[in-house]
């Protein structure tokens, strides 16, 4: 994908022209197109940042050698360029192309990074930088580019960003995962995914935060075994689900005009988390045409602290509901999002009591009507030490879709 990375400064936005591997140079450098000399202060910091002992090289598989970071204009001082530059490295490692013209995605990010790649709390002159960048962002959006704005955790609310996708991020791993999701979402239909140099957006934050060495074959083998076990259990669950009588209550058909909810529905975490979800091409046939289920996992690993406190999460395992059984990955799960396509017919979801003990919407009603284009976020509320569910079962039931667990109990 063609990504434009904006490095905002108080003197105006700068664009990354490119990052070129310079394997024979003894040090990395930052340079502009109109000067043969590197930018003094920035170069020193960039060399330390992306150098052999730098935090960026530890986080990304950058290989050996130095880099030439090319900007369209100079940066005099400061370190807020570190987050966008780190993300540009990550984008290249993931197979994307850094461009300044006709981008498919425009990434705007600011923040200095500490040695653990956490964003240092600071004001960053955000209002000033955003004001300088607004025209460029508007222009890109008018041209059809997707805009992704990543602000530091401490950023205040900025009114005109309301209709622009923006997130608050506390560390590079979170920002990288959001970039990966945006990169996937903006990829034109039919375009194959790039051969990833970096790990998947879900695995990456865990690896970075854990400070692991480059991945060995062992975790991959464990993942394959875990997936096989999950598949077997899910198939058993499907068998049990099909053989047992329905456990979800029968629901009388409700006319669309009688539904209680209309329009987008957001649970804990806010609809902002659901909005950047990857659009899935609707399929005409299936159990529930146009219905998509998304799993939200905590960006920082296996707790939901980041999701609950900041509303940031990794969008994972997004699937069209075209079967009566949806295997569920319990590890790190924080919430589910049910989303109905714009061109789908309204439908009613009826959750059984067992389901509602584990996943809670903004209210506890068992029946929720979804309108086209709407999303329902259901937060994971408790585990109770029980065996986690391995699959969600759905079945049509008198005009509604009955939703319960399959494969958890028994």
């Amino acid at each position: 994908m063609r990504i434009s990375v904006i490095v905002p400064t108080t003197a105006g936005p700068r664009a990354i022209v490119g990052i070129i591997s310079r394997p024979r140079l003894p040090a990395s450098l930052v340079i502009t197109a109109d000067d043969y000399r590197p930018l003094d202060d920035i170069t020193e910091r960039y060399d330390a940042f992306a150098g052999p002992a730098g935090p960026l090289r530890r986080a990304l598989d950058l290989g050996d050698g130095s880099f030439e970071l090319r900007l369209d204009a100079g940066i005099e001082t400061g370190r807020s360029w570190e987050l966008p530059v780190a993300l540009a490295h990550a984008a290249i490692a993931a197979g994307h192309e850094i461009v300044t013209e006709a981008p498919e995605l425009v990434l705007w990010a600011t923040g200095a990074l500490d040695p653990d790649l956490a964003v240092k709390p600071d004001d960053y002159h955000l209002a000033d930088k955003l004001a300088h960048s607004r025209a460029r962002l508007d222009e890109a959006r008018t041209a059809g580019a997707r805009i992704l704005v990543l602000l530091p955790d401490t950023a205040p609310d900025i009114a005109w960003l309301a209709d622009i996708e923006h997130h608050r991020v506390g560390d590079f791993a979170t920002a990288e995962a959001l970039l990966a999701v945006a990169g996937k979402a903006a990829r034109p239909a039919g375009e194959p995914a790039p051969s990833p140099v970096a790990p998947s957006p879900v695995a990456q934050p865990v690896r970075v935060l854990a400070g692991d060495a480059p991945r060995s074959a062992e975790p991959r083998m464990m993942a394959v075994v875990a997936a096989a076990i999950l598949l077997v259990v899910a198939l058993l669950g499907l068998l049990v689900w099909r053989l047992l009588p329905p456990t979800v209550p029968s629901v009388p058909q409700t006319p669309a005009s009688d539904v209680a909810d209309s329009g987008p529905v957001a649970g804990n975490g806010g609809s902002a988390d659901a909005s950047p979800a990857t659009p899935v091409a609707p399929r005409p046939a299936g159990l529930v045409p146009g219905l998509v289920l998304v799993e939200l996992r905590d960006i920082s690993g296996d707790s939901c602290v980041s999701y609950l406190m900041r509303g940031t999460a990794t969008i994972d395992n997004e699937r069209i509901v075209d079967d009566g059984l949806l295997p569920l990955k319990a590890a790190g799960l924080c919430a589910l999002v049910w989303r109905l396509a714009d061109d789908a017919r309204p439908l009613t979801l009826h959750f059984d009591d067992d389901f509602l003990t584990l996943f809670m919407a903004s209210d506890r009603r068992p029946r929720v009507s979804l309108q086209p284009g709407a999303a329902l976020v259901m937060r994971l509320v408790q585990q109770r030490g029980e065996r986690p569910p391995v699959a969600i079962g759905l079945r049509p039931d008198q005009g509604a879709i009955a939703v319960g667990f399959a494969g958890r109990r028994g």
Binding site: I20, L25, A27, L29, Y36, P38, D40, T43
Partner: protein, 175 residues
């Protein structure tokens, strides 16, 4: 026995006399005073005086005087590099500092590895035996290394890269 300073001064005065003679005799050479020539060699920047540059290409005595002035002002000098005939000098010592020209995709990088942190040179001047040359500002060193990107797409920078790798070019590290 005259000491080194006296010898240098004698050379300098001789060069000035030659330059004044040039001023009188060389009709096609620009009218450049000896003082202007010396001032040009010891200037604290890389501003170009086209009259002086023309004189340096036209007059051997002027080049001698200019070279003497440069040598006195320089932190380190490399009069020429050891290289076989026809070969490019991509590495040479300038005093205790190592200068390399590293070819990368689309550009030549001039890499200067400093032996000591201080004093840091501010400029590099290269001058061929024919008087052709250029002075460029050096950036701030990072880990004792100064790197300059001499883009092949830029005629002037490409010319400098070419001059620096000529074995018979003199290279001066200046304040």
């Amino acid at each position: 026995m005259p000491d080194q300073t006296e010898r240098d001064m004698e050379e300098l005065f001789a060069a000035i006399r030659d330059a004044k003679a040039i001023e009188r005799r060389t009709a096609e050479a620009p009218a450049v005073s000896a003082a202007r020539l010396l001032k040009y060699g010891t200037r604290p920047n890389a501003v170009v005086d086209l009259d002086v540059e023309r004189l340096l290409r036209a007059s051997t005595p002027a080049r001698l005087m200019y070279g003497t002035a440069l040598g006195r002002a320089a932190r380190a000098v490399s009069p020429m590099a050891a290289a076989a005939a026809g070969e490019r000098a991509t590495r040479r010592m300038i005093g205790e500092d190592l200068l390399e020209v590293i070819e990368e995709d689309g550009a030549a990088f001039l890499v200067l590895r400093l032996a000591a942190d201080e004093p840091v040179p501010g400029h590099l001047e290269v001058r061929s035996p024919a008087g052709e040359g250029a002075r460029i500002s050096l950036g701030k060193p990072v880990r004792g290394i100064i790197q300059l990107r001499l883009d092949h797409g830029d005629a002037e920078l490409s010319r400098i890269a070419d001059l620096v790798t000529q074995p018979d070019s003199a290279i001066y590290l200046l304040p």
